[in-house]
């Protein structure tokens, strides 16, 4: 083995003996021990490798990532609310007793805390939900900034994303801030942004129902993360995902 051949093999040899057991590396190391120039080169190479390895491992990780990953664990389903749905009407057009709803929420949350009802949504939708939550948690951009909902609709339609979406009564009360065009698994997604009076943002993601294999039911499924709440539901040919800062009055405010 020549000195050049030994160097080429030792390029893939890390300090600390990790690779010393490999026969080719062992042979190249023997060349280095016998050749002061190769030995000096290898020592410099090891110093470089150790520094590079240490620096690469200190590369920053986005602060939101862990929370976004864990968010999909924190789903609370409210299946009992399905009982108040009125056939043939949108879920928000039925008027359940707020007290009863609150009692159900508290009951379900209690069960969640004790571990009885915890479940995650089925995979494909869960992935979509996780991705959209991550979009909210990290930087996003609005392609159109306008208080005019019609302008947002027109923009989305021009991009091939859903523009004929429906707004819940709660969202209709909020100021429209704009919208953004997103893609999930190459499917167009409309992101509509709303601004609360306190300037906090609320986001509605709209996806064609057929794009996801397991769309959520017509009754909104409420999910809780550390500081975000989401509601997911299907209406007509679209699925909706709403995200907003966690709020005890989430349902009354937005749905």
């Amino acid at each position: 083995m020549t000195a050049q051949e030994a160097k080429r093999i030792l390029l893939a040899c890390r300090p600390g003996g990790i690779d010393d057991g490999d026969p080719e590396v062992a042979q190249a190391l023997a060349v280095a021990r016998a050749d002061p120039e190769v030995q000096r080169w290898f020592e410099e190479h090891c110093a470089f490798q150790a520094t590079l390895r240490s620096r690469l491992r200190s590369a920053p990780v986005p602060a939101h990532l862990k929370e976004a990953l864990l968010a999909r664990q924190k789903v609370v389903s409210l299946p009992l609310l399905a009982q108040v749905e009125t056939r043939g009407r949108h879920w928000w057009q039925s008027v359940p007793s707020m007290a009863a709803a609150a009692a159900v929420v508290l009951t379900v949350l209690g069960l969640w805390a004790s571990g009885f009802l915890s479940r995650r949504p089925s995979p494909a939708y869960a992935e979509y939900q996780g991705r959209m939550v991550a979009t909210v948690l990290r930087e996003y951009r609005m392609d159109v900034e306008t208080p005019d909902l019609h302008e947002v609709r027109r923009y989305m339609e021009s991009r091939g994303a859903p523009g004929d979406f429906e707004l819940t009564p709660g969202l209709q009360r909020l100021e429209v801030a704009g919208g953004g065009f997103l893609r999930w698994r190459n499917n167009p997604v409309s992101m509509v942004c709303f601004r609360r009076p306190d300037k906090e943002m609320v986001y509605l993601f709209v996806l064609e129902r057929e794009r996801v294999k397991d769309p959520p039911p017509s009754q909104p499924q409420i999910a809780q993360t550390h500081d975000l709440q989401t509601a997911a539901w299907t209406s007509g040919d679209k699925t909706y995902l709403l995200t907003a800062p966690a709020d005890p009055d989430f349902r009354q405010k937005y749905l």
Partner: protein, 180 residues
């Protein structure tokens, strides 16, 4: 009760929880993904998809001790799948690496931003890059890298050597650029 799809229990009773796996591996997986994609959002998406895949299929893993390499293998496959769908980053044409045997001074490398070094790693030819990333970021053995990438051992060693050579050249070039 933890959803069964997010946990793996070994014969000895060891349970790998979703949260535990995220806690232990998400940062390193993100750095690996960054080296592949050179994009923060794409890297985050890859890590997300990897853990979603775990939630779907992780329970099929027979040996919980292999969870880590399963995550890396899955992330790599997802990356390859996404590359087939969209070629977002044009490959950087690398000059013949005349500097591959020249080791940049460690004190200068130490002063470089870690994110900048990840970006340079991302400029290494794709066929060499993945092996080099696993080589530096996780201290995987040649055998383990070969298993994750699904290529023969000899190919892995050759790719790592060429990739490390390219990376050294890129770091040297960047440092040279800073000095001029």
């Amino acid at each position: 009760m933890v959803p069964e799809t997010s946990n793996v229990q070994s014969a000895s009773g060891q349970v790998l929880s979703f949260e535990g796996l995220v806690e232990t591996h998400y940062a390193a997986l993100y750095r690996f993904a960054m080296s592949l994609t050179r994009s923060e959002s794409d890297a985050c998406d890859l890590v997300q998809e990897t853990f979603v895949t775990w939630a779907e299929k992780g329970h099929q893993l027979v040996d919980p001790g292999k969870a880590k390499s399963w995550l890396y293998t899955t992330l790599h496959r997802l990356f390859l799948g996404s590359r087939r769908r969209i070629q977002r980053f044009p490959e950087v044409e690398l000059e013949e690496a005349a500097d591959e045997f020249v080791s940049p001074p460690p004190d200068m490398v130490r002063r470089m931003e870690a994110a900048e070094l990840i970006d340079l790693l991302g400029q290494v030819d794709e066929q060499f890059r993945t092996g080099v990333a696993l080589f530096y970021l996780e201290d995987y053995s040649y055998d383990e890298i070969a298993h994750i990438l699904g290529v023969p051992l000899g190919t892995v060693k050759s790719r790592i050597a060429r990739g490390v050579g390219q990376l050294k050249g890129l770091v040297a070039k960047r440092l040279k650029g800073e000095r001029t």
